[in-house]
């Protein structure tokens, strides 16, 4: 089924920028009426600097109001709009049209994989957050705190720079082939969160965290496919962080 036309561009860029004609193929599924997912194609106009999210919003607002997906901040910090765009996990608000399509081309949009599809592009995030909660994702230091801050060197703080950059969008975990076939694997995002605390010099629960990572749902399931690193919209070197956690488990220390 093809629905037609889009009168205006979504993003507020100058009118004099040349418009692109696009087909946007969306994998749709409404459990209240569909037995299985089906592709629907929408013809839209867009400017090269539009975000894919601008285009999807446009489809929702002016062509197909029932189209369902999550979105919030529009600039890659809230992590709501992870989806498969042209076969790759990305944030729709951090992906520009010109980077995924040529004039007259097609953009395909599907839900991220490995989590149950609730409706259209919206998936059940609960298993993802269950894995997050399983790694004790919180700072633990039961020693009496000083009146001011706990001292930490610039180098020690920098150790957490990559892992604390995670926005829990699930792009990494849902691009991991091990996660697809084995839902009990905690997955890259949870391991990145564990890394965040294992390598925090102020945290006192390192051994407990390494124990969780050493379980059969933990780091040893990783087969170093690098999909997670490629998928991360914030350029976190996830595979490297997982390797660091593996080494810490192996040698019993961080």
């Amino acid at each position: 089924m093809t629905q037609t036309h889009a009168p205006t561009s979504a993003a507020p860029v100058s009118a004099s920028v040349p418009m692109m004609q696009l087909k946007v193929k969306v994998l749709r599924f409404d459990p209240e009426k569909d037995k299985k997912a089906h592709w629907t194609t929408y013809d839209v106009e867009a400017q090269p600097g539009d975000r894919v999210l601008d285009v999807i919003n446009h489809i929702k607002w002016y062509l197909e109001p029932s189209l369902t997906f999550r979105r919030s901040c529009m600039h890659g910090i809230c992590g709501s709009d992870a989806m498969l765009i042209n076969g790759r996990n990305r944030l729709a608000c951090k992906t520009l049209v010109r980077d995924v399509a040529k004039n007259g081309g097609t953009i395909t949009v599907e839900p991220i994989r490995g989590l149950k599809v609730e409706k259209d592009l919206l998936v059940d995030m609960e298993p993802f957050f269950d894995s997050y909660k399983a790694i004790m994702p919180y700072f633990i230091n039961e020693s009496p705190a000083p009146a001011a801050e706990r001292i930490q060197s610039e180098e020690e703080a920098e150790r957490m720079a990559h892992s604390s950059n995670c926005i829990l969008c699930a792009c990494c975990t849902t691009s991991c082939p091990i996660f697809w076939v084995n839902g009990s694997y905690l997955g890259p995002a949870a391991i990145v969160q564990a890394h965040r605390f294992i390598f925090d010099t102020r945290d006192e629960a390192t051994q407990q965290r390494l124990g969780i990572m050493n379980q059969n749902t933990g780091v040893w399931r990783c087969r170093t496919a690098y999909n997670c690193t490629e998928a991360c919209p914030r350029d976190i070197p996830i595979t490297q962080l997982i390797e660091e956690v593996k080494r810490a488990v192996m040698y019993g220390q961080a």
């Binding site: 993003a11 507020p12 860029v13 100058s14 004099s16 409404d30 459990p31 209240e32 600097g49 975000r51 607002w61 002016y62 109001p65 029932s66 369902t68 997906f69 999550r70 979105r71 919030s72 901040c73 529009m74 600039h75 890659g76 910090i77 809230c78 992590g79 709501s80 951090k94 609730e118 409706k119 919206l122 995030m125 957050f129 994702p137 919180y138 700072f139 633990i140 230091n141 705190a145 009146a147 001011a148 801050e149 706990r150 001292i151 930490q152 060197s153 610039e154 020690e156 703080a157 957490m160 720079a161 604390s164 950059n165 926005i167 965040r196 605390f197 925090d200 102020r202 914030r234 350029d235």
Partner: protein, 583 residues
């Protein structure tokens, strides 16, 4: 479905999460409702820092911070709130560090601090390094850390539940009604105390740093009950949003030495704020930028932006301390701040006004000391009147931890002392009506089209520069859009995740916020802080050193009644006389 908690928190950004943590410490049952997943809340978008007079880099004192807050607010700041804030924030920042927040560090391992707009030493003499930061993702780290601590504390969350009504009867809050997005079911939450912390309403403007979800829901629901919204005319435009997109570029960019330049490369802030130049407060910098643009010195295809210049800074600073915005400029504009000037323009950013509260977060029902028993508010949603007419950079993150904490403490204390109030008969009635109206409308008007007209007209008529003629026009436009809104049709009949229905509901909330804001702005015939009128260009302390309280007239649709509340001109130990505000 029916639920019961001693304390119920609405919203899971910084203020809501802090309130939930502190309520739980008060030995009461607590739940937190969010229309998003908590980690998606907009606190995560705050970049530059949280100001506190730790004195880690330069000498600093809470009195200086209090003074900057009061002066920054153009003396509409309540000074008792500013004193409590400037003292409490020091402990609150240490507490965040004790919760594990990964702050950037000084060479001797303390929390790092940098300059920010309007932060000065010696009561305005020169800029001071007061903003504590975690690179340029301080809000992200506060949000993550507070969520983590709530996971640790076992807080119960209702994620993707959209509050549709506040149950208030006989001046007493009794709970809320919420719509569960995944099922389309209504839930009634019976509570001894409710804390509102659901954020701002920046989406009423076309160019905004705010998330799509910031639609003023709870402010509107409060206002629909005939309760007042305070100081709605004071809406902050952040000077530096990425051109055309409005995506926030932190003030930290100027704190680290970034310079604003017009089309001829001139550092124009030297003309507007000779003492602190690019580090002047936000209202002043925003007006200066718009003045440059109006006088033909803008840059870009439409000459509607100015440039921010970082090219003289070392690459390590740009890619290290300002990594987030470097990524944003590269992603969205294809520009590299290391070698390119980046075009920026002011972007609608922060509501100084909102639901009025006292210093403990208790909601006010009028300007004469009346309160709503059992109802608290904190964060951008609330107006404890810390920010007055213009909020200083970093004071929003400070506000939400200081006053989120206080709301949590006092709500729990109250809940321990009282029994559950009786519930109103048929508590879901109003919510059912609201959805029925939207679902059964046979109208063909499109919610997105109305929203777009609202955003464009608010930008043009109640933006950075204002005048009576345009605002009168806007009063009419908002009424016309409300009339059309009554006929908006929702075509998707589904129960599960009906986001068309939710977006239509949110538009109704936005229209209310715009109505209260426009009426408040039209009424205030002076220029103060972010409220700058071309037809009343000076500050008028004799007539206007008072807070606006805007009430919806429940008998006459579209009419707003304006009342007032005095400004607290004294703190507990300090007081700063209103003076002309120059930098």
């Amino acid at each position: 479905m029916h639920h019961r908690y001693d304390v119920l928190v609405v919203g899971a950004g910084g203020a809501g999460l802090m309130a939930a943590l502190y309520a739980a410490k008060g030995n009461v049952s607590v739940a937190c409702i969010s229309k998003l997943y908590p980690t998606r809340s907009h606190t995560g978008a705050a970049q530059g820092g949280i100001g506190a007079a730790l004195g880690n880099v330069q000498e600093d004192h809470w009195e200086w911070h209090m003074f900057d807050t009061v002066k920054g607010g153009d003396y509409l700041t309540d000074q008792d709130a500013a004193e409590v804030f400037a003292k409490d924030i020091i402990d609150a920042v240490y507490e965040l560090e004790h919760m594990g927040l990964p702050f950037s560090r000084t060479p001797d391992g303390k929390i790092a601090q940098r300059k920010f707009g309007g932060h000065t030493r010696d009561f305005g003499k020169a800029a001071v390094e007061r903003s504590c930061y975690a690179k340029d993702r301080t809000g992200h780290m506060i949000l993550q850390t507070l969520y983590q601590q709530n996971v640790k504390a076992g807080t119960t969350f209702y994620n993707e539940f959209h509050v549709t009504d506040l149950l208030i009867e006989d001046g007493r809050c009794r709970g809320v009604v919420a719509y569960e997005l995944s099922t389309g079911e209504l839930h009634t939450f019976h509570a001894k105390a409710v804390i509102l912390a659901a954020g701002g309403y920046g989406r009423v403007f076309k160019i905004t740093s705010n998330a799509l979800t910031l639609t003023g829901d709870l402010m509107s629901i409060y206002y629909r009950k005939g309760l007042p919204l305070e100081d709605m005319e004071f809406y902050q435009f952040h000077p530096t949003g990425l051109a055309k997109l409005g995506i926030l570029v932190t003030e930290g960019i100027r704190g680290e030495g970034g310079i604003l330049r017009n089309d001829s490369g001139e550092r124009f802030m030297e003309r507007y704020a000779p003492t602190i130049k690019d580090l002047a407060p936000r209202d002043i910098v925003s007006r200066s930028i718009i003045t440059e643009i109006r006088e033909g010195r803008g840059v870009g295809r439409d000459k509607d932006a100015v440039n921010i210049d970082l090219t003289h800074l070392p690459r390590e600073v740009i890619e290290g301390k300002l990594a987030e915005i470097t990524d944003l400029a590269r992603t969205y504009l294809g520009m590299d701040p290391v070698k390119d000037l980046v075009p920026i323009q002011p972007t609608a950013h922060y509501a100084m006004g909102g639901i009025p509260t006292d210093l403990n977060g208790l909601c006010l029902s009028d300007g004469n000391g009346g309160t709503v028993e059992g109802l608290y508010a904190a964060g951008e949603q609330a107006c404890v009147s810390l920010h007055g007419a213009n909020r200083l950079g970093t004071n929003s993150l400070g506000d939400l931890v200081v006053f989120g904490r206080r709301a949590g403490i006092y709500a729990a204390q109250y809940a321990r002392q009282v029994e559950f109030p009786d519930m109103p008969e048929n508590p879901e009635r109003e919510s059912v009506d609201l959805f029925d109206r939207l679902r059964n409308s046979s109208g063909k008007d499109n919610a997105a089209a109305i929203r777009k007209e609202l955003q464009e007209s608010m930008m043009n008529n109640v933006g950075i520069f204002r005048n009576g003629k345009d605002m009168e026009k806007q009063v009419g436009i908002v009424q016309e859009l409300k009339a059309r809104y009554a006929n908006v049709g929702v075509s998707d009949p589904s129960r599960r995740y009906n986001s068309e229905l939710i977006e239509a509901m949110e538009l109704g909330f936005m229209l209310d916020c715009a109505e209260a804001m426009t009426a408040s702005a039209l009424n205030r015939t002076e220029s103060r802080g972010a409220h700058d009128r071309e037809d009343f260009t000076t500050r008028d302390d004799e007539n206007w050193l008072k807070h606006t309280m805007a009430y919806k007239d429940l008998n006459r649709e579209g009419q707003v009644q304006i009342g007032y509340k005095p400004v607290s001109l004294k703190g507990f130990t300090r007081a700063f006389e209103p003076k002309p505000r120059v930098y």
